[in-house]
Amino acid sequence: MTDDLLTDDARAWVGMELDIECIPLTRAEVQRFLVGIGHAPASGEDEDLLIPPMIYQTLSRLPVDPAALTKDGVPTDRRPPVGEGRGMNGEVELEFARPLRVGDKLRGRRRLASLESKRGRRRDMVVATWVTEYRDGDEVVIVETVRQLLY
């Protein structure tokens, strides 16, 4: 039964909110991300720099205490207690209110919006839906919805 995975301990996570203080978007971060996605570092002035939209991924992942990682190397604080404690990301949806710019200092507010049981092709699982709003000051820049598959 899929409901066996969705325990009261897991349900208690729904509504949980996490603050995410992001790394400021600097030219050096742009260069590091460009290399990470297989491109040469950029040249030219900051205002001409083409900033990959998905760079928010690196800005929003701060270093984690290795002791807080699961056996498979994933931070534990982002995973409701379901099944064997394993999981993967499902669908990710993004809305970009404006392009990112060097100098942006994003802050994220992540909320676990829901947990739902699902019968998968190979296994039963729980779908955790996390919604994160990234702001620069009062301005919403990115809204991210991530569906995490837990089993």
Partner: protein, 146 residues
């Protein structure tokens, strides 16, 4: 500006063949320490046939396919979903098809259906919405893709 904008038009495909170093550099860039992306034996113990290509790296390929088709355009929305596992050193073709063209007050918006296809089939699907650049330049802002 993109050479033509019509529903059904195919984006020029791009090809990727990520090796172990590529996957390491991406994991380092996004602080992804999941062992299946760098430890072959662990990945195999987890039931994979080799080191696993990060789903979010494939998402970046989808964005790249859109923005290399229409340089200077602005990404307004993007979604993606990994549908099967992609493995290191395999060859992937990233392509897209224009699903919708909308003439909005701020410019032309184009919705593109996207996919990453490897030797065993499609590994990631996505959908993006671009506001097209006008005459090769958008509204003066940065924020285009790589």
């Amino acid at each position: 500006m993109a050479p033509s904008v019509a529903t059904g038009e195919q984006l020029p495909p791009i090809t990727k063949q990520p090796n172990e170093v590529d996957l390491f550099l991406f994991s380092a860039a996004v602080w992804n320490s999941h062992r299946i992306h760098y430890e072959r034996e662990y990945a195999r113990a987890e039931g994979h046939r080799d080191i696993v290509v990060q789903g979010s790296l494939q998402a970046n390929w989808l964005v790249e396919a859109m923005l290399s088709w229409s340089p200077g355009s602005t990404l307004l929305a993007f979604s993606f979903r990994n549908t099967s596992t992609a493995y290191v050193n395999e060859t992937f073709v990233i392509g897209g098809r224009i699903a919708e063209v909308r003439h909005e007050p701020g410019g032309v918006h184009v919705v593109v259906d996207l996919q990453v296809e490897g030797p065993s089939g499609v590994t990631t699907v996505g959908r993006g919405t671009l506001r097209l650049a006008r005459d090769g330049a958008d509204d003066g802002s940065s924020g285009t893709g790589s």
